[in-house]
Symmetry: C2
Subunit: 587 residues, 2 copies
């Protein structure tokens, strides 16, 4: 037997017990005639003691053990003279009688501690060592518990988890598919699902009125910081349900998770905000409402002062940073640099200081007198001591820049309390998004999203203004999930495809089976999908989903540990009837 | 609101209540002045009544509804005059006041009933209709419940579910990999995992001593009846654990499932049998022990009678079919045809009838007198009235043929009670399997399986006789799962690769990261993986895993519903730098 107990469970009640433990050597200290070893496993750390006086040979063996050696020991639990109240096992130690080395270890390339000295790349290459760190262990345990609570809640609500296929069909709407060549059907390919969207709708047609699945999805995108080519989705769909049903059911899920995992009790309903309001007030469709500092539109107050920049701008907006009137020139310059970074791309920033003494100073004093500036200050609700920051330009782009500036000020002013959570629903998204480059509309959510019934008449006359029955759940400025009421009517679905520029043939080829299914009694249905990695990261207080994925890929889609992707054998290529085409030009 | 209740929950206690229901028209009957409609949803069927006398217009509307129309109704619950005790809702009906058609339906191509008239191909093409059938619904609900109980049990045992990646690296040992071309790393490929084997071993190195995952796995094999290119595995691994720990833990899991799902309480431990005994007694490593009819080796009793067939045979074995001495010539000929089928491939079959009156008659009377045949009968434990069936030839092939014959006799004689379950462990598998074609040893389980310590010395001298610390769980003749104690020692792992014919370089290229990981303190570990689809099928009493998979593929790996795999666009191929090679010869 390798162990009678784990390294996390022994305490004074076990005093005098003979125990066997197994684990890793976390650290080792020699104190005069004694050697102390911290033995670590998944459950904790237990102190082992070797006494040179009573058993010199064993103690000498113990002194040869390096960090991360795997050992098994037998000994007696005894009270520590020097207790450590911070550790669950801090009251006891093991007086070791026997020691076996189960496996040796080379010196790890970085320290296995809460704060490691390993860089990102090294940690990824030796992920199995990185995962030994307490922080990673806590994250993966959190992930496990969250998945468990999601399943528990949904099961109680009569949802049934149904596995949908991973090898499906390429549908080139949306992001790029990963494809899988078929050996048995040569020249043909499967695709990995970007989501089980079509299958869950087919399950609704099949009568499984409450479906969910925690499932891997795949997108062949150029990776940004918080994207992974494979990611996990909590995918859900309901029949005989509208937007209100979905929002209530999944607000219940979110509250259940807050309660069970974070021990936070949300009393009232989550706030709801329309997409338009979110853009106007926060400059983003995923506002972080843990702090206010809302955006104020100032265009009407800026006219008629011959300030060309504002007069030419479609939009002028401001945020008010409380108690920042004392910002130095240098601090303000830094903020200007911040908004001018290519990621944000603003041309500049105007500021107004409403000083403690009631005076006003601005970077546009030449154009606007104090009376004019007082109107801005009043609109923004600024008080003496506040700093108003203003940007102008094309509406959406400027709102987005103001949003980034708002978040930056939130960070600088420490407006967010650790452990604070602010969930909300964003609703009434536009149905379509115009793409300048291809000169056509794309589905903002996806092509199966239903327009709001009162906006259907606008589909032909003014598609850009049609609102969708679509909604997002946002927590702390992170889009945790989104969904929509689906179209269940064959004719309306056909109209959508037409508006999206599909010919009848294209629609039929790509989605024919769904259109066909809709001819056999499709119920009204609606659904939502949550980004599980993101949700876990938000609960873990982590900025990167890589911290909550056991074996993530890097920004080039590589797994540095197993060195993948990699070349495959000539025989494999031949069996698949594929050739690598190295004649093409670089794109 | 679409509904106040489901179609499965109303009873006499709701009499007089105003309710709203939504669902599908299962069937419709006109009785004089009344129209009765069975409304179906996932939860059951409720009878709707339309009365021509009180509301002629509505009744005429109802008569227009076709099968599988989706409707919503409002009405009053009332007691039925004609109760149906077989239905949960059989005491009541709905006196309908309002009716909305939510969606029409074409006439389905097959009937949506327990016994359908749809052939396999039609059912697959219209899977969303097939899934409306009660049997399929029960199967998917069973699957959901089994997954839930597996998670509940393992969570209680401190197992943590960790997701391992789906896009990994091709390791051409074992079955063929499905591969995924990488766009960002051109000319390189990911592979879909045949199992998370290597990742779960890395998780053990990382210290997650009890891991599990219910996970999709992929094998590009030529498909047989009960194979799918993607299938679901319950994948498990434990550290600081040996074979006994694994067997006890997962016998506990199996008992939990039997108890919770099938309401069967297994008192004692599951039987265990060695691979060798399983072959000798049942002719297979996955014996169905719901009935006995064990195989008896007869070689020693057949010598010296100049019967060339037996004298030349490496092996002679028999089964005893109780009370079958009365089998006619025709019945016996049919059995002979059965074992001569190419799938079994026996050359013939010898029979001995031990008649009710104590006389003996055999197909080899010319060579064996009654005294000789009595020895056979005695060895087989045959009693008066029994029929002994004998086959001879190469040992393994003949045992396997006898196994098929045994199963066929079990079916003919109805020896298996419906709802009967007989689990057992098969242990002590051989470590290697010799492959005639390539002239090398292959790992019987996989290359990471540990030999039994007492057999390590034989690795060089007699590899074929080395037994592995490997085990299978078998239920009703179906291999539900298998696993092994793993090698955690770098040197022993190196020796295994050598025996399997890997050069040092090949081993390093394919498994280098695992070998490397083993240098940093790998704990002793062992694991098991269960075929989830098969386990659900066995519990569902179904012969085919297709009956417990929502969207299976056919024997050519095609999904007939979505028509996949399919060709992809020229642009997609170009982005991946791939060319279809149509110059090759057919294989």
């Amino acid at each position: 037997m390798y162990r009678t107990h784990t390294c996390g469970e022994l305490n004074l009640r076990h005093s005098g017990n003979e125990v066997t433990l197994s684990g890793w050597v976390q650290r080792s200290r020699d104190h005069g005639g004694m050697t102390f070893i911290d033995l670590r496993d998944r459950y904790g750390i237990t102190q082992l003691v070797f006494d040179m006086e009573t058993n010199g040979e064993l103690c000498r063996e113990a002194r040869k053990l390096g960090r991360e050696f795997v050992i098994r020991v037998e000994g007696t639990v005894r009270e520590r003279s020097n207790k450590n109240p911070k550790m669950a096992t801090g009251d006891i130690e093991i007086d070791v009688r026997m020691l076996w080395v189960l496996n040796a270890s080379l010196l790890p390339p970085f320290t296995i501690e809460d704060e490691t000295d390993g860089g990102e790349e090294l940690r990824m290459k030796f992920r199995y060592l990185d995962l030994r760190r307490n922080k990673m262990k806590k994250n993966l345990e959190l992930r496990h518990r969250m998945a468990g609570e999601i399943r528990k809640y949904l099961d109680k609500q009569s949802f049934i988890e149904i596995e949908t296929p991973v090898m499906i069909k390429s549908t080139p709407e949306g992001a790029r598919d990963f494809v899988v060549p078929s050996r048995m059907n040569q020249g043909e390919f499967y695709a990995l699902p970007q989501s089980p969207q079509i299958f869950k709708q087919l399950l609704m047609v099949a009568g499984y009125d409450r479906y969910f699945q925690i499932v891997k999805c795949f997108r062949d995108e150029d990776l940004r910081a918080d994207r992974q080519p494979e990611f996990t989705q909590v995918d859900c769909e309901m029949s005989f349900a509208g937007q209100e049903d979905v929002l209530n059911t999944f607000e219940g899920l979110a509250k259940h998770l807050f309660q069970e995992i974070k021990n936070i009790d949300f009393n009232g309903p989550f706030p709801r905000i329309t997409f338009k309001d979110a853009m106007d007030r926060y400059g983003t469709d995923k506002p972080d409402i843990r702090f206010r500092m809302e955006i104020t539109e100032l265009k009407e107050f800026t006219r008629g002062h011959n300030f060309q920049v504002f007069d030419d701008a479609e939009y002028v907006g401001a945020i008010c940073a409380e108690n920042c009137a004392g910002y130095t020139r240098k601090q303000i310059d830094k903020l200007t640099d911040f908004v001018k970074r290519p990621q944000i791309g603003a041309k500049g920033m105007v500021w107004v200081k409403y000083n403690e003494d009631g005076t006003i100073k601005s970077s546009v004093d030449k154009f606007y007198d104090e009376a004019a500036l007082h109107k801005w200050i009043g609109a923004c609700g600024a008080r003496q001591g506040d700093l108003v920051l203003i940007m102008a330009g094309e509406r959406i782009a400027t709102q987005e820049a103001l949003s980034e500036l708002r978040l930056e000020m939130g960070r600088q002013l420490d407006l967010v309390m650790e452990g604070d959570f602010a969930p909300l629903w964003v609703v009434d998204f536009p149905l379509f998004e115009w793409d300048q480059e291809t000169g056509r509309f794309y589905a903002k959510h996806h092509p199966f999203t239903s327009p709001r019934p009162e906006d259907i008449a606008l589909l032909d006359s003014d598609p850009a203004s049609v609102r969708a029955n679509a909604y997002d759940l946002v927590i702390n400025g992170v889009e945790i999930g989104g969904g929509s009421v689906r179209i269940h009517n064959k004719d309306l679905q056909g109209k959508m495809f037409e508006k999206l520029g599909f010919t009848h043939e294209q629609a039929k080829e790509q989605f024919g089976f769904l259109m066909e299914a809709f001819r056999y009694g499709a119920p009204p249905h609606a659904g939502v999908a949550f980004g599980f990695d993101r949700w876990v990261a938000v609960f873990a207080g982590s900025d990167s989903i890589r911290d909550v994925i056991a074996f993530p890929k890097n920004n080039s889609g590589r797994d540095l540990m197993i060195d993948s992707p990699s070349s495959i054998s000539h025989e494999q290529l031949q069996e698949l009837r594929l050739k690598i085409d190295d004649t093409g030009n670089d794109k």
